[in-house]
């Protein structure tokens, strides 16, 4: 039994059919074709598949796709601002905040959720925002530095 699913994905309307019970991770990757979303544990423990549903971070691997129908979903594919990289992306590049890159999409989305609701986070806010995202290569310090730097630069640009 296939279920129709409609999403506003990164500002564009997309529609697809998914197997009953399919999770959002598989629907995004295999039905919609957004391969920027990665799976790491498929059991809601590593944060790799973090996407934003109506602005809030969600673990796509344990989110029922049907439950998101009609909602807005954001992934790294929509992070650029036109031709420009998002300040978080630039900061991750400058701070060597990625090594293998596999946790990076989830980290970026968790960080975006934070900056969207709190443009001037403290270090503790940042740690709290990414505490569900596992990185096995770089360690967390460059990532925390990148997120804080992105917040500072974004604040300066908006000011």
């Amino acid at each position: 039994m296939k279920t129709p699913i409609q999403l506003r994905l990164n500002g564009e309307d997309v529609a697809t059919f998914a197997d009953g019970g399919a999770n959002l991770l598989d629907v995004l990757r295999y039905s919609v074709g957004d391969l920027t979303v990665k799976g790491g544990c498929w059991q809601g423990t590593c944060g790799t598949c973090t996407v934003l549903v109506d602005g809030a971070p969600r673990l796509a691997c344990v989110t029922l796709a049907e439950s998101c129908s009609g909602n807005s979903v954001e992934t790294v594919a929509g992070l650029r601002r036109g031709a420009d990289l998002h300040p978080l992306q630039t900061a991750f590049m400058e701070h060597f905040a990625a090594q293998c890159g596999y946790c990076t999409p989830g980290m970026l989305m968790a960080a975006k959720a934070l900056l969207d609701r709190n443009p001037n986070p403290t270090r503790e806010d940042v740690v709290d925002a990414i505490c569900g995202n596992i990185c096995r290569c770089t360690g967390y310090e460059p990532i925390i530095a990148a997120i804080l730097d992105a917040a500072r630069k974004d604040a300066r640009r908006s000011a």
Binding site: C41, W42, M93, C100
Partner: protein, 533 residues
């Protein structure tokens, strides 16, 4: 600011460390931050089939019977694969460099030797269909006693884990059950030492836990070849291993990898590619074999656990006169890379210190645990931990500053190492002096004046004869200082006639055994890295 001491490292490297202390960018970082770096699983194929493996619930058991009839009829199932379907169902990873004997099946047939060992594979139209089919397979086991401790595994009458190595030890040089190092006479030195300290160190196995689990996709090409997208860290190593297991020429395999979601040594074991290729051959369709997180933790090989005993003989003036190391590496049920970890470990004894009497015995031991493999300095990391803990304990026990104790015993240029190689370009003393200065750690003047260039050689350059071994015949060449820094089995066969002579008092390692297969003999890969000198 960091500096390169050209006076010490003149011929070590040419760069001037302009990159250190400044941010730099990876060449692949733009792909990472935009989510467009293509990992193996980011390649999609119509009609992709999914392979799932049934794993042993027992650490050691005989398989009495397998009934897969219901699974074969289950919805979506395209093929069941059993051990008999695997063209070459016995392999050891380092057979590619002719080191060790084939000891591990791709799919167990008669006996399972660790919990999580693969027995049977189902290829189906979805992962869910494959998982559901696996639940219909009925296997009857006779559980066998198991051994989980390295020293228990060496006791008389211990359970024999792996029939290829019935005594639970890897074979070194085809005549030893462990790798040895002999230099001087430790027992005589212990008798004369002012103090003797012995300690036991136990390391744990460590799972690499990469965020991307091990996996691969094998895709049949129209020209009889297979394209394989893989998470491997060792592309050509995996290619040759897959070719051997599938009994096919390696030019029928096109491996695509390089973008890996974390490895740390946990993606060198070619865990998934051979079965994915076999399944693609048997079904004619693209097949993905991806480990679940649970499988990665249970079946993905960890860093091996090492048990290390160190016994040091120390004089009151701080000189270490004897060091004896006995270590046991837990290889799990099969060899993988632990055999090589042992060689690295022995090559690292006794640490960067000039000690006139050194004795090393290191065992690669088989137990009913998950096979262990490479992980970040494996073989050396654990030994270094143990050695440096021991150095601290020695220093405290004789009432000496731990850093001064290291400086006093450090290699100097011209010293003979326990492996009968002359130490050169030594810099431990200088590194310790700089570290002490930066950390405001007080070093006494005489230690601040010490140098790697002073006090070495002369009497310290003598290779001490090992009285437990036969003397060399008259006219035998003197110990070569640096003619060959490579172990015999790392040399390609063409080098067998190399003029490098075995060191005077060393047992000559056996020549590499002739191999029935020529797979990858000369193509050995990157997993061991490049040697500096």
């Amino acid at each position: 600011m960091l500096e390169m001491r050209k006076d010490i490292f003149a011929d070590e490297r040419d760069d001037d460390l302009r990159e250190v202390g400044r941010p730099t960018q990876r060449q692949d970082i733009l792909g990472h931050v935009t989510g467009t770096s293509a990992y193996y699983d980011d390649h999609h194929f119509a009609n992709l089939l999914h392979l799932k493996v049934l794993r042993s619930p027992h650490p050691h058991a005989r398989i009495r019977s397998i009934d897969d009839a219901a699974a074969a009829r289950a919805p979506g199932v395209k093929r069941i694969i059993r051990g008999a379907d695997v063209p070459v169902n016995l392999n050891t990873l380092l057979s590619l460099i002719q080191f060790g004997k084939d000891d591990e099946p791709s799919l167990a047939t008669e006996t399972v030797r660790y919990r999580g060992e693969p027995i049977l594979a189902v290829v189906a139209t979805s992962e869910r269909a494959a998982r559901q089919a696996l639940e219909l397979v009925r296997i009857s086991y006779d559980p066998l006693p198991a051994v989980f401790d390295v020293e228990d595994a060496l006791k008389p009458g211990a359970v024999s884990v792996n029939p290829v190595y019935p005594k639970n030890t890897f074979d070194y040089h085809r005549k030893y059950d462990h790798q040895k190092l002999r230099f001087g006479d430790v027992e005589a030195a212990f008798a004369k030492a002012d103090m003797v300290f012995e300690e036991r160190y136990q390391m744990s196995p460590i799972e690499h836990a990469p965020t991307e689990t091990n996996g691969s996709i094998a895709v049949p090409d129209t020209n009889g070849r297979f394209t394989v997208y893989t998470s491997t860290q060792a592309l050509f190593f995996s290619l040759d291993t897959s070719a051997k297991i599938n009994a096919m020429p390696s030019n029928q395999l096109h491996f695509i990898g390089g973008t890996v979601g974390g490895g740390f040594g946990g993606k060198v074991d070619t865990l998934t590619e051979p079965l994915a290729i076999l399944a693609a051959r048997l079904t004619g369709a693209p097949v993905r074999y991806r480990l679940s997180r649970h499988e990665e933790m249970q079946f993905g090989s960890p860093r091996g656990a090492e048990r290390i005993y160190i016994k040091d003989g120390v004089m009151r003036d701080g000189r270490i006169v004897a060091r004896k190391v006995r270590a046991y590496f837990d290889s799990g049920a099969y060899t993988r890379l632990s055999s090589y970890a042992v060689v690295k470990c022995v090559a690292h004894i006794p640490g960067p210190y000039t000690i006139p009497n050194v004795h090393g015995d290191v065992y690669c031991v088989f137990t009913n645990r998950t096979p262990a493999t490479a992980m970040r300095g494996f073989g050396v990391t654990a030994l270094d931990f143990a050695l440096e803990c021991q150095m601290d304990k020695d220093a405290v026990a004789i009432g000496m500053d731990p850093l001064e104790f290291r400086v006093l015993n450090a290699y100097r240029d011209g010293d003979m190492k326990a492996h009968r190689r002359v130490a050169k370009n030594c810099a431990l003393i200088e590194c310790a002096q700089v570290a002490a200065e930066r950390a405001h750690w007080p070093l006494r003047d005489e230690f601040r004046r010490m140098s790697s260039r002073k006090g070495g050689g002369e009497a310290r350059a003598e290779a001490v004869a090992d009285r437990t071994l036969k003397p060399a015949p008259p006219g035998a060449p003197r110990t070569p200082a640096s003619s060959s820094q490579r172990a015999a089995y790392e040399r390609p066969p063409a080098d067998a006639k190399s003029p490098a002579s075995p060191a005077r008092d060393m047992p000559s390692p056996a020549a590499p055994p002739p191999s029935g297969s020529t797979h990858g003999v000369r193509r050995f890969s990157s997993i061991f890295g490049t040697r500096r000198r």
